[in-house]
């Protein structure tokens, strides 16, 4: 989990160096005529500290997880600092466990549903923001900023109160509205229902970022394109298909890709709600990894699970990555 997290948080840092070179290379080109080896190496030397830092931050945890996954590393080995190589034993243990497959499938379904719902709603709100009057839009933006600024555990606690069986505002409201069967209704009685509530929370937390990013993309589309479409007599849907969609498609793909990374490895919200229960039915891969690694102190097995998580994540996002690279190449 650490590895995935580091990759993703460090990614923006990785994007900065390419922005720097023009000035640096420009300087180097002038000097190259004089032809010193030091001058030629200078840009790389200047880049080196950042590169080393990135490799250290991203590369080391990944290598470490990978190496650990081939070891028997329980509490005893960890405390004594022993290294016990076991080859592929951890992978065999994990892959032979039918629970792993069940949990993987659940994680993928959960991730896809949450990503589709949150990106869809984010796009909807972004489109809405463009047609709102400034005051309403500012109110909406402030509300979303507040939602975004709320710490994960705080909002998770609030959601727990809202969905509380006996005292939750949701059940009380539903009863007031005449749905008497919701008195004492448990929203956490099955895995599906628990994950739906967790999913709702995650969508709520994700929408501000998605809406703001997509709105920024929408604002950048020239107005005259819409005017031209209006003159041609295009309907709203046709305008969206012909003008808006091509302009924001790559941005939309980018945020979908990011959302997939984030939602796949959600742990805190699921764990805080019901610890992956009831009966383990809301256990996703990050929760399984926590149970193996931290609760049972089988760190090698947990590392094997995280390597497999990376593989699954790679498979899910493979198409996105490829398309993303293709569009960028097409533009260049």
């Amino acid at each position: 989990m650490t590895a995935v997290k580091t990759t993703e948080t460090a990614a923006p840092v990785g994007n900065i160096p390419p922005a720097l070179p023009p000035a640096v290379t420009g300087g180097a080109r002038k000097r190259r005529r004089r032809g010193g080896a030091f001058d030629r190496a200078l840009p790389y030397l200047l880049l080196a500290p950042a590169l080393i830092a990135i490799l250290w931050l991203i590369g080391w945890p990944v290598v470490s997880v990978f190496v650990t996954s081939f070891q028997q590393l329980n509490l005893g080995e960890l405390v004594r600092g022993e290294v016990v190589w076991t080859g592929f034993e951890n992978y065999v243990t994990v892959l032979k466990d039918e629970r792993f497959w069940e949990v993987s499938l659940r994680t993928v379904v959960f991730t896809v549903s949450v990503v589709v719902a949150s990106v869809g709603m984010g796009l909807g709100i972004a489109l809405l923001m463009r047609v709102l009057t400034p005051w309403v839009r500012i109110a909406l933006q402030i509300a979303m900023l507040c939602a975004w600024a709320m710490p994960i555990l705080a909002s998770t606690t609030v959601y727990q109160w809202m969905f509380d069986q006996n005292y939750g505002i949701l059940n009380k409201t539903l009863v007031q509205l005449g749905f008497d069967s919701f008195a004492g209704y448990s929203w956490f009685s099955s895995g599906t229902s628990t994950l739906s509530v967790v999913g709702l929370l995650i969508i709520w937390q994700a929408i501000p970022f998605l809406a703001f990013s997509l709105y920024a993309g929408l604002v950048g589309i020239p107005r005259d394109l819409y005017e031209a479409a209006g003159i041609d007599g295009a309907t709203g849907w046709q305008t969206f298909r012909a003008v808006t969609w091509p302009e924001i498609r790559s941005l939309l793909m980018m945020v979908t890709f990011l959302s997939t990374l984030w939602d796949f490895k959600v742990f805190a919200q699921i764990w805080v709600f019901r610890g992956g229960g009831p009966n383990g039915e809301s256990t996703t891969l990050p929760v399984l990894q926590y149970l193996e690694g931290i609760a049972k102190s089988h760190f090698g097995v947990a590392a094997a699970i995280s390597v497999l998580m990376m593989v699954i994540l790679g498979l899910i996002t493979f198409q996105y990555l490829r398309k993303l690279l293709q569009t960028e190449e097409g533009k260049l």
Partner: protein
């Protein structure tokens, strides 16, 4: 000149730091300046620890960094702490956790020093829990078991004048209490969350069942036996009777802390530990003279049900660098003075057989009455994995109480999960 000196100091410091990573000095002896002590929330009263730390500091000239830890998530926290280069020097472990930590070689072997910790008077149940292959990996701290803590004023008002002597009488008392407080919609005659699994153990043992059975060194889950199932049925009967607005079936006694709920005044009884009553009284001092306790009644009239002997051991991490000072600390804590203070605080002391101080209040009396009947979870290093993470007993209770699974299915699944975890 100054710069060079700084560089030299820096290089020396670096060399020390690097070499320090490789060596593990056991028993810092005279160099020890400070020891870190981790005790658990609710285990020893501040009056005890203040006096203890003060005496230790003045006698040895070593500072005590005393930290109180919460039970929730302690397994994870200990794992991280023990693997670090600066672990605490004295830790408190739940008796069900001790075997697994000892088995992994993370605790210092204290067999040779047992004499200075009053080993002649160690509490049997706790001694077993810290002994692995004939070696002792800790010192018993205290034991406590659950009793039914109740509000004397509310029970009296409901016409229950003597504490119930059997399970049937108890349910009867719960119903009377419920009827007498029918006007309060939030009233819970018995605060019983659906996952109070230590209480479930009492009922299972009372019916003659057990969690798991050992056969030729192999443990198998035994929750699907008729006796264990009867325990589940008894739990359901009590849970159904407990209140009109029942506590949700999918939470345990720690989230929210049941003592906090008891402190709200809307609760007539709870199955809890003495420190939980202490917590409730601290939050609401007027509860002090309105509360008492009786042992969990058995289904046989006149006797009390077996109880889970909860308790703690004290241990020294194998990676501690201040072993000698830590041993001195444990020796002081196992002396009669502090053991008496523990008993006074309402716990069965771990290194003293003298429990006279314990029976001075009602809760202590109930505790002393039921502790001879104390039982423990299977003593095996594998047990800790059952409790940490997703406890099959809790899952079975929730599934059975909510009707998600039949009794047969729920108990069979839990039994299989336990067999698998202990394999």
């Amino acid at each position: 000149m100054k710069g060079w000196r700084g560089l030299a100091v820096g290089a020396a410091a670096l060399a020390v730091a690097v070499s320090g990573c490789g060596t593990s000095t056991s028993g810092g002896g005279t160099e020890t300046k400070e020891i870190t002590v981790w005790l658990m929330d609710g285990s020893a009263a501040p009056t005890l620890t203040d006096a203890l730390n003060k005496e230790f500091e003045s006698a040895n000239g070593i500072k005590v960094k005393y930290e109180v830890q919460k039970w929730t998530g302690i397994q994870e926290k200990l794992t991280t702490a023990l693997a670090s280069s600066t672990p605490p020097d004295v830790i408190e472990l739940g008796n069900t956790q001790t075997a697994s930590f000892a088995d992994q070689g993370t605790l210092a072997d204290l067999t040779a020093d047992a004499g200075q910790f009053n080993s002649g008077e160690w509490l049997g149940g706790l001694k077993d829990s810290l002994t692995l292959n004939g070696k002792q990996y800790g010192v018993p701290f205290y034991a406590a078991n659950r009793t039914v803590i109740y509000r004397t004023d509310l029970l009296q008002a409901a016409g229950v004048t003597t504490p119930p002597a059997s399970r049937a009488e108890w349910i009867d008392a719960i119903n009377k209490l419920k009827a007498a407080n029918a006007s309060n919609p939030d009233f819970q005659a018995l605060y019983l969350p659906g996952q109070s699994w230590y209480f479930l153990l009492s009922l299972i043992w009372d019916e003659g069942g057990d969690i798991a059975k050992q056969d030729a060194g192999k443990w198998t889950g035994a929750l699907d036996t008729p006796q264990a199932k009867a325990g589940f049925e008894a739990y359901k009967a009590i849970y159904e009777a407990s209140a009109t607005k029942k506590v949700p079936a999918d939470i345990d006694e720690a989230k929210p802390q049941q003592m906090e709920v008891f402190g709200t005044g809307n609760v007539g009884m709870m199955v809890g530990l003495p420190w939980e009553l202490g917590g409730a009284v601290k939050a609401k001092p007027d509860l002090a003279d309105k509360t008492s306790a009786f042992p969990i009644p058995s289904k046989k009239a006149g006797s009390s049900a077996p109880v889970f002997l909860g308790g703690s051991n004290l241990a020294i991490p194998a990676s501690s660098k201040n072993t000698d000072a830590a041993k001195k600390y444990l020796a002081l804590l196992s002396s009669k003075k502090y053991q008496d203070m523990l008993a006074e605080g309402g716990a069965v002391p771990g290194t003293s057989k003298d429990t006279a101080k314990l029976a001075t209040n009602a809760v202590g009396k109930a505790l002393a009455a039921s502790s001879p009947n104390g039982k423990v979870t299977p003593v095996t290093p594998k047990w800790a994995a059952v409790e940490a993470g997703q406890n099959p007993l809790k899952d079975a209770l929730t599934a059975y109480l909510t009707g998600a699974k039949t009794l047969d299915q729920a108990t069979k699944d839990a039994s299989d999960a336990i067999t698998k975890a202990m394999a």
